[in-house]
């Protein structure tokens, strides 16, 4: 064992990078759930985003174009989910699962000739002044663009939900679609928009894995990140800044266990590599023990099918 090989500075700096994919996917899913829809297909949308982003970025040589393509790819897949659940009124749980299974297959098919290629490099920003602050600059202000985009999305979601009429309507639809309908709000349309936003965010998160975090394409490379994003939404009690907190905590655990594996601590590798999942379960359990408080954040119409009858 050689714990001295772990550089705390590098460790802290890499937490933000490790957390960004989950953060993006989770904040998108949070918006979807706020509108009253449970989309379990996050994993499928992420992996589709990962492959779309990778393919387009390598073809065009531009990671930025890749990210845009990933967002579009994720949104298109989400549109499929939205069409089935909102217009054809299919079961949301089953449809979300279908989305994941389909997305895993589709991404493998699209990406088959891209295995083993390296993605074009995304350069890190070097924010003037801030990046030069000792220690903190290295940890916070020397990352790639997407890290900051993801935080900006969290801030935007928070502001929209809290201060704008659009946010109020979104929350209202998630709270009671019947009441919203009676007041004349277009429940299905609002939910479709939320679902597409969630898909685009998941797509961005996936592309972050294949373009920056790894950066190359392998089948099934999101390895459950989409599911963890779903758990983080629960952990966060549907509150944007707590989504950020949850994602960073989780990213911290992931980075730490990878570093411990590299440092060859006398803990079985299997135990270390399963630790992120075990910790997710633990967090879910703790959250459900405090159900009373957490339940207040959960949209009341979450997962319920809406059909405007007379």
């Amino acid at each position: 064992m050689d714990l001295s090989s772990i550089n705390p500075l590098v460790l802290l700096a890499s937490i933000m990078v490790a957390s960004t994919p989950i953060l993006l996917a989770a904040i998108g899913e949070m918006v979807v759930e706020k509108s009253g829809v449970l989309n379990l297909g996050v994993e499928g949308m992420m992996i589709t985003g990962a492959v779309c982003g990778f393919v387009i970025a390598t073809e065009t040589g531009s990671p930025a174009v890749g990210f845009i393509a990933a967002a579009i790819g994720g949104a298109i897949l989400a549109l499929l989910f939205g069409f089935l659940t909102q217009y054809l009124l299919s079961n949301q749980v089953a449809t979300g699962l279908a989305l994941t299974l389909f997305g895993l297959g589709l991404s493998a098919l699209i990406g088959q000739s891209y295995v083993g290629i390296k993605a074009p490099v995304t350069s890190n920003l070097h924010i003037p002044l801030l990046a030069d602050i000792p220690v903190i600059g290295r940890i916070l202000f020397q990352h790639d663009m997407m890290v900051y985009v993801s935080i900006a999305i969290v801030a935007a979601v928070w502001a929209v939900l809290k201060f704008t009429r659009a946010g109020l309507i979104l929350r209202a639809v998630g709270e009671s679609h019947d009441a919203a309908h009676a007041l004349g709000y277009k429940v299905v349309r609002i939910r479709m928009l939320a679902i597409m936003f969630g898909g685009a965010c998941a797509g961005l998160g996936g592309a972050y894995v294949s373009l920056i975090r790894v950066p190359q394409w392998t089948e099934g490379m999101t390895a459950g990140a989409g599911w963890i994003a779903l758990a983080i939404v629960v952990f966060a009690s549907w509150r944007p800044w707590r989504v950020l907190l949850g994602a960073y905590l989780f990213g911290g655990v992931t980075v730490l266990q990878l570093n411990l594996q590299a440092a060859e601590v006398p803990v079985p590798v299997a135990l270390l590599s399963m630790s992120p999942y075990l910790i997710t379960i633990l967090v879910l359990v703790i959250m459900s023990i405090n159900r009373g408080r957490a339940a207040l954040g959960a949209p009341a119409a979450l997962g319920r099918v809406f059909h405007a009858s007379h």
Binding site: R165, L168, I169, R171, A172, E175, S176, D178, A179, A180, H181, A182, L183, G184, Y185, G292, A295, L296, P299, A300, H310
Partner: protein
């Protein structure tokens, strides 16, 4: 009525749904300042009609005229900007949002939140409907929730205010105050379209009434000049059968609740606090109260869906508070909840399957854990035949039945199991008059044969008609039961909690 005096005219409006014509060439008109009643039974087409006026549903044919110009609202937004506002029967409120947010959602161009809160306070005080804009709606009582809806409407200075069965959630005292508010609005020139099936209310409040039956207008009258009986017969189309009651001697106490407290399973529900009551064989105990004061919780506590300390509930002297629904059924304590679809019955399952839902134990429909489907079907057929349930057969899904027919099935299912105690919640809610009468008669017949009946209801007329003793639920507490005979409306109102904190509108406009 001259055109210039007409605010809204509905002319020959028809709306059909598959299998039912909800409105058939309906015409009527409302003048500014008029309080106009739409009177009809459940299913007469009142709701469809107002949904068309509010832009939620579009008519198939016919037209509507607003101040002489064609009126075709495509959405509620359009209706609201014309000057139509509506207070819903099933509230269009969001429990997890606060009062101000709820009000904002029902307005076309709400001012910023802070200003809106100030306006809410102002208007609510002017009209005697105090409200705190920052409270979560989920924490409000049913009466307070209605205030939110009314204030949401008033803030938009409506020309026409539609009120759908507004008094079902109010105590008699609160009804009086609401009527004061409405009269004041009417005096200010606001037209009110008042939907109800309660005749006395309409006679005391409305200037004119349009009576609907099976989607058609069957009469327009001045309700103050007609007797309640005439109105009722126009509404129902037949002479009403009043349940008759053979009084039986009261026997032993069968069910006894002592200081029963249970926390509600619903985060916005009402917990029961120290409920004490007892019922004797052959007795009908009526439990009144405004919706949301612990009715669902009391039913759950009696049915065994919510468990309590064993001795808080005694059945023939035996402690049963910790027994589940089936154990209680075995003893003879049966229940029929309020919500027919999804609680008393599974909507997508056939009537046969729904008969098995509660009937397996007392009717011996299963042997060694295996259901005897033949026997179950016979039971379902027996219910259908004995309780006049209109359905093609026991294979039909529960949700295909009309409200009244399904309710007859649900009540029949329990009555035919020959209970010692039957607890019902809102047994005739949303049921047409003839079905309601037969359900009440069935309950009375059961009591006459020596069973005890606990009837939880928000319909005071119903309770006065069938109860021996009356008690009221108010915020999870039960008043001591009193003999029903001779109770005045005022006394009942006070038992239900009086006017809470409502006050009469300050008539200073």
């Amino acid at each position: 009525m001259g055109n210039e005096a007409t605010l809204l005219a509905v002319e020959g409006v028809t709306k059909a749904y598959p299998g039912v014509v909800a409105n058939d060439k309906v015409s009527f008109s409302v003048a500014p300042g008029e309080v106009h009643a739409l009177l009809g039974e459940n299913g007469a087409g009142k709701s469809t009609l107002v949904k068309m006026i509010y832009g939620l549903v579009r008519p198939d044919s016919g037209r509507m005229v607003w101040k002489g110009a064609p009126y075709e609202p495509a959405t509620p937004h359009a209706a609201r900007s014309t000057g139509v506002a509506m207070v819903f029967q099933h509230f269009s409120l969001f429990e997890a949002l606060n009062v101000a947010e709820n009000v904002a959602l029902g307005m076309e161009n709400p001012p910023p939140m802070r200003q809106l809160s100030v306006r809410i306070r102002e208007v609510s005080e002017t009209y005697g409907l105090p409200l705190d804009p920052d409270r979560l709606v989920g924490e409000l009582s049913a009466g307070e929730r209605q205030r939110v809806e009314i204030i949401r409407c008033l803030l938009q200075d409506p020309k026409l205010l539609i009120m759908d069965e507004p008094t079902s959630v109010l105590t008699p005292q609160e009804v009086d105050i609401l009527f004061e508010t409405l009269r004041k609005l009417s005096a200010e020139g606001t037209a009110i379209l008042y939907i109800s099936h309660k005749l006395e209310e309409i006679r005391s409040l409305c200037n004119s009434a349009t009576i609907l039956r099976l989607g058609k207008v069957v009469g327009t009258t001045n309700p103050r000049e007609s007797s309640a009986r005439e109105l009722a017969e126009m509404m129902v189309g037949q002479t009403l059968h009043t349940p008759n009651r053979e009084s039986a001697d009261l026997g032993e106490i069968v069910v006894e609740l002592t200081n029963l407290s249970i926390k509600s399973a619903n985060p916005f529900g009402t917990s029961l606090k120290g409920v004490t009551l007892s019922v004797r064989q052959g007795e009908v105990l009526g439990i009144g109260g405004v919706a949301g004061n612990g009715q669902d919780e009391l039913l759950a506590a009696l049915s065994g869906e919510a468990l309590s300390t064993p001795s808080a509930i005694k059945f023939k002297g035996k402690s049963i508070g910790n027994l589940g629904p089936n154990a209680r059924r075995g003893l003879g304590l049966l229940a029929a909840p309020e919500e027919r679809l999804g609680h008393a019955a599974a909507p997508d399952m056939s009537l046969t399957e729904n008969a098995a839902l509660t009937g397996t134990i007392r009717r011996n429909l299963a042997s060694k854990g295996f259901l005897r489907w033949g026997a179950v079907e016979d039971f379902a057929k027996e219910i259908i035949a004995n309780f006049d349930v209109r359905t093609p057969g026991p294979d039909n899904a529960a949700r295909s039945l009309s409200g009244g027919n399904l309710q007859k099935f649900v009540i029949g299912r329990e009555v035919l199991q020959d209970p010692d105690v039957l607890v019902v919640n809102q047994p005739t809610w949303g049921v047409d008059a003839s079905a309601a009468a037969s359900i009440r008669q069935a309950l009375l017949d059961m009591a006459a044969k020596g069973a005890a009946v606990i009837c939880i209801s928000q319909d005071l007329d119903e309770l006065m008609e069938i109860s021996d003793r009356f008690a009221a639920l108010n915020e999870g507490r039960l008043t001591p039961p009193r003999p029903a005979k001779g109770l005045t409306v005022d006394e009942i109102g006070l038992m239900m909690g009086g006017a809470h904190d409502m006050e009469v509108a300050h008539v200073d406009a």
